[in-house]
Amino acid sequence: VATTAHPEAPARYRRSPGSYVMPGLALLLVVLLVVWLVVNFTEGPAYFFTIFFIGLTNGAVYALVALGYTLVYGILELINFAHGDVFMLAALISATMIGSVFHLAAHPSVGSLVPAILVSLVVAMVACGAINVAVEIIAYRPLRHAPRLAPLITAIGMSFILENIAIGWKGVGYTSVPQVLPTGNVFSIGGVVYTWEKLIVVVITVPVLLALVWLVQRTRQGKAMRAAAQDRDAAAMMGINVNRTISFTFAIAGALAGAGGLLYALYFGQVRYDTGFQLGLIAFTAAVLGGIGNLPGAVLGALAIGFIQAFNEGLTWHSPGSDWTQSIVFSILILILVFRPEGLLGERTPEGG
């Protein structure tokens, strides 16, 4: 068969001009973002770094929640909508522990602060691990073989149920936590201020993250988790108790949310029943940004979102301000899902086209 009928055959393999539009737009957005950051930096470097540290602290809290989303998504391919509300319950539990059990007032002594924080941390982590496992057993396990829409819908239902448990427990108003973390300066160099409360958040977050990495990478249970995440059926055939592994994953995710909730309560000082919904969406965005199912990606994404939020709300030169934070975060989510659904560090999945 003659092929001479296609003299410009190679042209078919050339990319059409239209296919450059979307990446071009994405590039333009990134360039604009960089220009905006640089201009703001030159406007006031010291102030910029102060904002930077706020972003780092926010990011640390988001990371703990985002990891929960990413762990569960990795193993079940399910967006656990209830996760943000587990986090909110953790914050409420911590607020109760600090205020009503340890009776800490503002600015307590170090001797009373450290054991209170440690005990609250353990209580919040254990309680939220248990809550998360309960949510899984009630709402997700019976639907393992149902169409994927079904567990997603029960997840939304559980989210509302947990919120209403919080309403029943604490009412619809804010529960406030006294300012127990020290607010003095760790250092103040040339106007760049770093305060103790921010350092403490990071100091609690990092060991928790390291423990998680150790658990997932080095232990037998972690190996089972990774195996079940890769291929549940094959893992079951290799003798892994998949249901127990999934419950364990939910327990770990809940414990991370517990730690996040404690830090949130201590650092931001105000918790309400819908705190978890908003923060959960932000954390989910962080998980998607980093590449859902990818643990380092979740931390990276959370830090990025933390910085974006802090810069948007704090910087002065042409920043949209806190009215728009949510829209910006969701726009990032949509852009990431559309342009790079595998996230910054993730692998391509069939869901992402």
């Binding site: 019976p142 639907l143 939304i156 239902g157 309403i167 619809v172 949510q326």
Partner: protein
Amino acid sequence: VGRYQFLDTVSRTWWTLLAGAGVSQQRWRSWPGTTRRAVKTTVWLTLFLVLVALFGVWDTTALAVAACIAFLVVPPWSRLRVGRFAVGKWVVPAVVLGIAIAYPYYTDSMPQVPVFGPFPQVSTMVVMMIFTMMALGLNFVVGYAGLLDLGYVAFYAMGAYVAAWLASAQFSSRHVNVGAVGLYPGWAGVHLSMWIVLPVAGVATAIIGMLIGLPTLRLRGDYLAIVTLGFGEIMPQIARNGDNLFGINLTNGTGGITPIDGPGFGNWAHQHLHLPANFLTAGNLDAVFFWTALLLVLVTIFCSSRLRDSRLGRAWIAIREDETAAAAMGIPLMRTKTWAYATGAFFGGVAGAYYASYNSGAFPDQFFFNISVFILCMVILGGMGNIWGVIFGACFLSYLDREGLANVGAWVNGHFGTNVDVPKYEFGIYGVILVVVMLFRPEGLIPSSRRAAEFHEGVHDEPLYDIEEHDAPIAEPAS
């Protein structure tokens, strides 16, 4: 499917009772359909009347309601023919429609229902109809095409704001009047007749739906859900902050846009045809809004059923059941899904515009994620993909929202001496509904048989190897 077989016990009890009465399953099945329906209806209605007698206020009207239901359900109406016309299938819908149209006239003389209290007011009925329309719109997306949309409130908001822009004093530097009713002397702004605004709002919202759909619809399943959720959160925020978008006051910020013109037929039609000149100033305000909403719902039902059976509708259902197979059969995925989105958005937009007109205002705090879940809950409770199921779910839940929960709460507190603020836990109750329906009866209360089969037999993404069954023998590895 799952380990919850609770509803099986209902059918098991039924067979046991029949056996107790000396009727085997075979014998039951050998009876004619009318007899079987008569027996079932008698059992359920007796149960209903006993409940009324025990928990409610006994009234002979309850007997009338029961007789009416029996009259509609038992006889084989569908076989009725007049000459060569099969009029039978229209009997039940026509009677139901007649009952609905006459509702404003007899609502005050209806009996008290046990637990739920009085029948809903006409104003509640308006809201029920509007939410029915939205739920039917969402049913295009969730029920037919199987795309989970968690941001449906964005379309509702869009429709409301289009109505606000086209029929209020928002753009006060313009002076446009196309058939608007109820304008005061010295009016300003854009005022279009509500009969123009409704379709325009629908089309504008459908275009927005397409714009949202084009980049996102290639995502599958839960990713799509979260993107729609994102849009659902962004839209109200734009509405909230839209009083200064690059110096333009688009949405009037948190104050919202109010007042919005009402629908109406103008003075000529009022004098010659006795139609209301302006709904908002009509003596029977709620009733005329109710009848119009009923008409809109009828149009929506018509479009739903016709589109479902069209080539496009069958393509939606094919995509819902197996996207890959549908694509292999030559269905253009993107185009088909975008149409589902646009159609759903259209009805959401019309409903939003009509609601804005009824409320005479569009306020940003009406458009929260909760509303999206509320509408989703209606679709799921009633039965995804089934028009009658969705209508039932929408009417029931919006009734609960407006009146029912408060009545039930009052009944509970009165009878058990508790002091629970039931409406406060409204969304917790919806959460329980979502979870319970998904666990026990994922196809909804009034399912479409096809959707039920999908949920019970599973679809393409079912795992090949059943982990649940083989858990015990495999157990833990020896460590």
